[in-house]
Symmetry: C2
Subunit: 143 residues, 2 copies
DNA sequence: TATTGTTATACTCTATAACTATA
DNA sequence: TATAGTTATAGAGTATAACAATA
């Protein structure tokens, strides 16, 4: 059983698993939105307006990387920068209306893919899997 | 439910999730064995002796990358190169005894981490999760 | 003194292209 | 002609270090 999970993790954690999924999700959504900028846009949608420093651990890169990716998204009109009212050193990254639309499209695409994958599963198993996977990513062998 | 899976996938597919796990697994096992060479060693153990070209898709990089990583493992004595008896163009990458010992240690470490993560789960749920995760990585939204 | 965003720099890792040898 | 391994090269992406502004 542990061996089966180890094998599955091996596939999931492959570099190509991530890049290929993100590349397909962002396909045709403009030059600025690719597997590099996707995690920033996605994290921003998940957490709401954030500074680059706050977003960095969420995305798994440092603040200079967030700045660079955010600049690409800003040029494309998906993100804008606003001064943080509570800290004049900081800039908040905020989704524009166009950015929100892009996130909605990305979420739909991902949801469709997941639904397709689970379509043939026996009743109840998909729900159980969702719960288990969430628990595993939270308490799993990653900390 | 799809949303819950999407969130979990977001965590699993983070670049840092992979590198940190592999970094911890290989900790203290010599300079040649790190998060870069781990997937090659692991794939070799899983599939048996293979050429660089055959191993490339398994690892998710191209054959030049496999060659480079294999050379590091060879220098450290974990892998050796043998001529392929069936094709004189090819070189088979083979685990040495030291390489097999390293793989055994890595498997133990990963199994321990997984077992720790599942220790508190209700009876039967871990087994179900293992089956579901395997199915999901096989038929999932990645192809 | 510490932390912010940003930029420039150095480093790591990768794919691409070339080469020779063999199928 | 195509494919093997290998090497050199160029590209992408990253962390590190520095900077001025603000806490």
């Amino acid at each position: 059983m542990g061996q089966e999970i180890a094998e599955s993790l091996g596939v999931l954690l492959r570099r190509t698993t991530r890049t290929q999924l993100h590349r397909r999700l962002t396909e045709g959504m403009g030059e600025a939105l690719d597997e590099t900028t996707y995690p920033v846009l996605s994290a921003l949608a998940r957490t709401g307006p954030r500074s680059a420093a706050d977003l960095a651990p969420e995305v798994g890169i440092d603040r200079s990387g967030v700045t660079r990716r955010a600049s690409r998204l800003e040029e494309a009109g998906l993100v804008r920068r606003e001064p943080d009212p509570g800290d004049r050193r900081a800039q908040l990254l905020v989704l524009t209306e166009q950015g929100r639309q892009a996130v909605a499209e990305l979420r739909t695409r991902l949801a469709d893919r997941i639904a397709d994958a689970l379509a043939g599963w026996p009743p109840g198993e998909a729900e159980a899997f969702a719960r288990h996977l969430h628990r595993f990513t939270t308490d799993g062998p990653f900390g």
